[in-house]
C-alpha cells in the first residue's frame, strides 16, 4: 500500500537480460522485479559476471531485454524514442572514449545535444547548465584541458558532469569507481550522494565497493549468486540475509553487527 505515496521512476517486470543469439538467447540474469523511487541513490551489487552491466545497459535501452519489460515514469521503455529518452536518462559508462581532441568543456557540452538545434548551437540556457554541472563536480580548473590528459579520477568527474549537463531525472553509472584509489572512490561516492540530496535526481550505480555502498546508498538492488534478486534498503536486505548471498562464504562474510563485509581468519 505504501507504493501509492512513492513516485516510482523506474520499474521492471519479470525482466530477463542477456544477449540475443541466433540459436538460443544467452540469459545472464532473470526474474528481475525491482522498482526505483525518485530522488534515491541506488546501488546495484553483485559479483563479477552476474549481469550488473547487462542489467544497466538494458535499463538504459542500450540493449534489448530478452523478455519482460522496463517502465520509466510508467511508460514502457521500448516506446520511447532515443531522443525522448535522452532528456530523461543519462549514462556514465565504463568503456574508454575514442581518442579525440575534445576539451573538457566540449565533452560536457555534448551532454546538451538533446536540446540543441540541428547544427548543435549552444543557447544561453545550455551554457548555464554546462557551468552548473562544472561547478557541482568541482572541475572549473580542468575545463580547458583536453580530456585525454586527465587522470582516471578527474575523467570520471568530467563524465559525471556531462551526464549532469544532460539534465535528466535519472543518471545511470556503470562502475564509476572501477579504476580509482580509495580517496577518489570516496570522492565520487560523496559527490553522487550530494547530487541526489541537492538536485533530487535519481542515481543508479553498479559497484564493487560494497562496504562503502552500504554506508552511503539509500537503496539496493542485489543480484545474488543463486539468481535471486533483492531490492530494498540496507536494513531490509540485512533482515533478508541478502548480503551474505553475495559471495561464497569461504573467504569473506557479512557481519550484521558491523554492517560490513569482513575477511575470515585464514
Amino acid at each position: 500500500m505504501s507504493n501509492f505515496k512513492k513516485h516510482i521512476v523506474l520499474k521492471t517486470e519479470n525482466l530477463s537480460v542477456g544477449y540475443q543469439q541466433k540459436k538460443q538467447d544467452k540469459v545472464v540474469a532473470k526474474n528481475i522485479n525491482v522498482s526505483i523511487e525518485k530522488g534515491k541513490f541506488v546501488a546495484l551489487l553483485g559479483k563479477n559476471g552476474v549481469g550488473k552491466s547487462t542489467l544497466l545497459r538494458t535499463l538504459s535501452k542500450v540493449q534489448k531485454p530478452i523478455s519482460g519489460s522496463v517502465y520509466i515514469n510508467k511508460k514502457k521503455l521500448s516506446t520511447y524514442t532515443n531522443q525522448e529518452l535522452a532528456t530523461l536518462l543519462s549514462l556514465v559508462l565504463t568503456e574508454r572514449l575514442p581518442v579525440s581532441q575534445l576539451t573538457v568543456f566540449e565533452l560536457i557540452a555534448l551532454g546538451r545535444q538533446p536540446y540543441t538545434n540541428w547544427i548543435d548551437t549552444l543557447s544561453e540556457k545550455d551554457i548555464e547548465k554546462i557551468h552548473w554541472a562544472i561547478q557541482l563536480t568541482e572541475i572549473e580548473h580542468l575545463k580547458d584541458r583536453r580530456f585525454y590528459e586527465l587522470s582516471d579520477g578527474q575523467l570520471q568527474r568530467v563524465l559525471i558532469a556531462r551526464a549532469l549537463a544532460q539534465d535528466t531525472e535519472i543518471i545511470i553509472l556503470d562502475e564509476p569507481t572501477a579504476h580509482l584509489d580509495i580517496h577518489h572512490t570516496f570522492k565520487v561516492f560523496s559527490l553522487l550522494k550530494n547530487l541526489v540530496e541537492t538536485t533530487g535526481k535519481t542515481i543508479v550505480i553498479s559497484t564493487h565497493e560494497v562496504n562503502l555502498a552500504i554506508q552511503l546508498a539509500d537503496e539496493f538492488i542485489l543480484l545474488s549468486d543463486d539468481d535471486t534478486v533483492y531490492n530494498g534498503t540496507s536494513e531490509e536486505l540485512i533482515n533478508q540475509d541478502a548480503f551474505s548471498t553475495l559471495f561464497p562464504k569461504e573467504l569473506i562474510s557479512f557481519n550484521k553487527n558491523l554492517q560490513q563485509f569482513i575477511i575470515n581468519k585464514i
Binding site: V62, S90, L93, L97, V99, L102, Q113, P114
Partner: protein, 316 residues
Amino acid sequence: MGSVTIPIKEILNILSGCIASKESWETIILNYRLPKALTAVLVGSGLSISGLLMQTLFRNPLAGPFVLGISSGASLGVALLILGSGLFGGVFLSVGFSNWGLAIAASLGAFLVLSAVIITANRVRDTMSILIIGLMFGSLTSSVISVLSYFSSSEQIKQYVFWSFGSLGNLSWNELSVFSIIYALGIIGTFLIIKPLNSFLLGENYAKSLGINIKRSRNIILLITSLLTGVITAFAGPIAFIGLAVPHIAKLVFTTSNHKILLPATAIIGAIVLLICDLIAQLPTSEFTLPINAITSLFGAPIVIWLLVRKKKIYV
C-alpha cells in the same frame, strides 16, 4: 601553368569576360585550365571530407576511402563498365561511357564495398581488424579487375589503365556540371549530420544515449561517402592518400575535433593540397603532365609515415 605560358594580366582579362589578345589563350583558359582547377577543388575537398567521415565513423585515425577499399570498389564499378562490356556484349555499351553511366557504376561499386566493410566491421569491432578487412576487400576487387582485364581487348585495358592513373583534366563543362550536382548533394548531406558526427566522438553507446539514431546516421554517412568517392573516382580516377592525410592536417592545424570547424577546414585544405599537387604534376613550362595519382602518393605516403611515427598525436 602548363606548356603554354599566358601572362597573368591576360588570364584576369579572360576570366572577367574581356577579350584576350590571342583567341587560343581564351580557349585554353576557359575550356581547359578553369575546368581543371574546379575539378581539383571538388576532388580535393570531396575526398578529404570522405576521409574525415570514415575516421569519425570508424573512430579510427587510419581510415580513409582508399585504405578501406572504397576507392577500389569504385574502380571495380568502372572496370566492370569498361572491361566488362567486352564480356557481356552490348548490354553495358548502351549505358555506355556516358557520364552518368560511369558515375553510377563507380558509386555502386563504392557503396558495395563500404557496406561490406561496415557489415564485417560490426562483427569484429576491433579497429585493427577493420583496416585489414578494408585492405582485403581492396585486393579482392583488384584481383577481380585482373581477371576481367585478362578477357578484355588491349584497347579496353588501355582505356582502363589511363583512367586509373587519375586525371583532373579532360572534363568538359557538361561533365563538370554532372560532377558538381552529385558533389553538392554530398556536401549538403554532410552539413546535416554535424551533430551526430560530434556525438560519435564519444562512441556509439553515448551517441545513442544523447538521442542520436545510430543506424540512420551511419547509413547517411555511408551514402555520402560512397556518393562522393564514387563520383570522384568515376571522373578523376582512383586518387590515393588525399582522403587519409588531409583530415589529419586539418586536425593538427586547427587542434579541434569539433566537426563544425573540422568539416570546412578539411574541405579547404583538401582543395588547396590537390591544387598544389596538380601544379606539381603540370611541371610548369614543360610539355609533360604527370599522372596526378603519382604526385599525391609521392607526397601522401611520407605524411602518413610521419603521422604513424608520431603516433601519440593522431586523433580520431
